[in-house]
């Protein structure tokens, strides 16, 4: 193994046996050892990669592409069927937080248990315990039994231990889903800190912004094979293109089978619900956005039940980016926004209602939204 590398994967294959009727008992094994039908599912095929010391690498891919399995192979919880996975340096995985917590013991005692699973000695834990407690923000609860904790507190404690272990290699699976916004940001800052202190970090995540911001390199696993490996911005772009293609194809297939359920989302940015508008302003600009995966979706705007024509379409890059995975390949960024100018002079004082809806050509409503405003 090259001493520059933290992780080396060579010609690695991993299969899972999908056992439909798993023989767990001796009787089953003896009786059905020939008949049991086992399907071999190849999860990873011929993976080769080097991760250098100090690199921050993201594994991206759709659900079921095998990226979490790859991470598990790196932690040595499971082992490859062919090829090798080698690691160099102390390794911590944040795959599953809170493994080995014992409900009846206090948070402080559990820090010792949990940290010892990561291979720390008593002295090393003693040195870190204050940092861990501070990071978890548990305060006096640290001396209460863990069974009294809320799930958020539990996760915070577990994360604090894992991230303060000071491993040379950190393997992280979707961790930024821990705790509230404040704690997530704190974790994020800590990760950046670790990155700067030359730790090797491997992250599996679906949040592509994190990848762009944090990682030096992205590795895209597509259907069990390594598809692209390189600068995050390029890899993510290619990944999204592929997602869009797959998405379209899947949709086509589902439509052909009559199983696809179209979806849409609509939003009104202005006016705000229950807003009060001065009549002497003359015109009211109402705007928002609308997306759908139906290419002939119809968008309609109603004021007090009457359809209004003259909807202008606008570019909404922000919405496009937010939905680019969920609605991959279905959106035209220039036609996401909508705007309607309402002439207030024709309207009476009092309450009015705006309805918008996005529907299929046959009238089936996919999404709608309504707001009220008061004219004075």
């Amino acid at each position: 193994m090259d001493s520059q590398n933290a992780i080396e994967v060579r010609n690695m294959y991993k299969q899972f046996k999908v056992d439909y009727d798993k023989a767990h008992t001796l009787k089953d094994k003896l009786l059905f050892w020939k008949t049991s039908h086992v399907e071999i599912h190849e999860v990873l095929k011929n993976i080769n990669m080097d991760i250098k010391k100090g690199e921050t690498v993201a594994l991206i891919g759709t659900n079921g592409s095998g990226k979490s399995t790859l991470l598990k192979l790196m932690t040595k919880i499971i082992f490859p069927n062919k090829g090798t996975v080698e690691t160099n340096g102390k390794l911590t995985s944040l795959l599953e937080l809170g493994a080995g917590f014992h409900q009846d013991f206090t948070g402080r005692e559990n820090i010792y248990f949990n940290a010892s699973i990561f291979g720390l000695t008593r002295k090393e834990i003693d040195e870190r315990i204050q940092d861990i407690i501070d990071f978890s923000e548990l305060g006096e609860f640290i001396d209460h039994p863990v069974r009294t904790y809320s799930s958020g507190m539990y996760m915070r404690l577990a994360f604090s231990v894992a991230i303060n272990v000071d491993a040379e290699i950190l393997l992280i699976d979707e961790i930024l889903a821990v705790g509230d916004q404040h704690f997530q940001q704190k974790c994020y800052r800590k990760l950046k800190e670790l990155k700067e202190s030359d730790k090797t970090i491997v992250i599996v995540t679906h949040s592509l912004d994190v990848v762009k911001d944090l990682c030096d390199r992205a590795v895209w696993i597509y259907k069990g094979e390594l598809r692209l490996d390189g600068d995050p911005i390029y890899v993510i772009d290619e990944y999204l293109k592929q997602v869009a293609i797959d998405h379209k194809e899947e949709k086509k297939k589902a439509i052909a089978e009559g199983k696809h359920k179209f979806k849409a989302a609509v939003f009104i940015d202005a006016p705000k619900d229950f807003a009060t508008i001065q009549k002497d302003k003359g015109t009211l600009v109402s705007q928002g956005w609308q997306i759908s995966d139906h290419d002939q979706a119809v968008f309609k705007f109603f004021l007090d039940g009457n359809e209004i024509c003259g909807i202008k379409r606008k570019n909404r890059q922000d919405v496009f980016e937010a939905y680019q995975e969920a609605y991959a390949g279905d959106m035209d960024p220039d036609a996401i926004g909508w705007q309607v100018n309402l002439d207030l002079n024709d309207l009476d004082l009092g309450n009015h209602k705006i309805d918008i809806q996005c529907s299929e050509p046959d009238g089936n409503i996919l999404a709608d939204k309504s707001i009220q405003f008061t004219l004075e």
Partner: protein, 260 residues
């Protein structure tokens, strides 16, 4: 030696696991750690009341002390082997999630059993003094015999626990064999009762547990040095089982996370 380095690196895990086993076992119960005294005592009382009636001449000089010096070492064997066999399955949660040397689980199982055994030895001493047996220089052999027993147990549970992850019937078979094993070991009866038993008597005399239990009695009750030859044979057997058990364990451990 990779094994020893691994275990040394994870010594804190070993320590906390043993602590968790000993303290966690009785946590929440009113009498706490006292239960590890009360349990064998109650058992002894049951046998003490029942058996002299069932079997005339059970035991020799003092049946109560005879019972206790056999039952406590046997309990050490019984509990560690039965919990050890299921310990890979019972720890499926962490095995699927975190990497650590899996053998730590079994080593800590044996260590906590050993600690419990040494604590229980206090009961033996109390009885020995109460019935006028006292204590002698042969007590120096106690750690040696306990070590041999621990090695034997470790080898057995390395083998059984890894097999049990794949074939879960094993734990039921083991629990049956353990129940039988108690009658194949002179825990509640005296070996002299088997004088006319032929082959069965031979088998029971060759049972490694028989040799261990009689060695404990030699140390505590009879104050003679336990015969070294049979004890050495048991030690050798224990080492052989340990090597085989470890090899099987290492072979099978790679599939634990997927099998469980």
């Amino acid at each position: 030696m990779h094994i020893f380095k691994d275990i040394y690196d994870y010594r804190e895990l070993l320590k906390t696991n043993v602590k968790k086993d000993i303290r966690g076992k009785y946590k929440g119960s009113f009498l706490g750690i006292l239960w590890s005294f009360i349990n064998p005592l109650l058992q002894v009382v049951v046998y003490w009341i029942v058996f002299p009636y069932l079997m005339r001449g059970a035991g020799g000089d003092n049946y109560l002390v005879y019972l206790i010096t056999g039952l406590i070492p046997w309990t050490f064997f019984l509990t560690t082997v039965s919990t050890g066999t299921t310990s890979i399955k019972a720890n499926a949660g962490i095995i699927k999630k975190v990497y650590f040397p899996r053998e730590i689980l079994l080593i800590s199982q044996v260590l906590s059993g050993l600690v419990n055994f040494f604590i229980s030895c206090i009961i033996i001493f109390i009885f020995c003094f109460a019935f006028g047996y006292g204590i002698s220089i042969q007590i120096l052999m106690l750690p040696v015999v306990a070590l041999i027993q621990s090695i034997l147990i470790l080898g057995i549970i390395l083998l059984l626990s890894s097999l049990n992850a794949y074939i879960q019937d094993l734990e039921y078979i083991v629990s049956f064999l353990l129940t039988m094993g108690m009658y194949a070991t002179p825990v509640i009866y005296d070996l002299s009762l088997l004088d006319g038993a032929g082959v069965l008597g031979q088998i029971i005399r060759m049972n490694p547990l028989t040799i261990l239990v009689t060695s404990y009695r030699d140390i505590f009750m009879y104050h003679v040095w336990p015969p070294l030859k049979p004890l050495g044979a048991v030690a050798l057997l224990a080492l052989v089982i340990l090597v085989i058990g470890y090899a099987v364990f290492k072979k099978l451990e790679k599939g634990f996370a997927e099998e469980l």
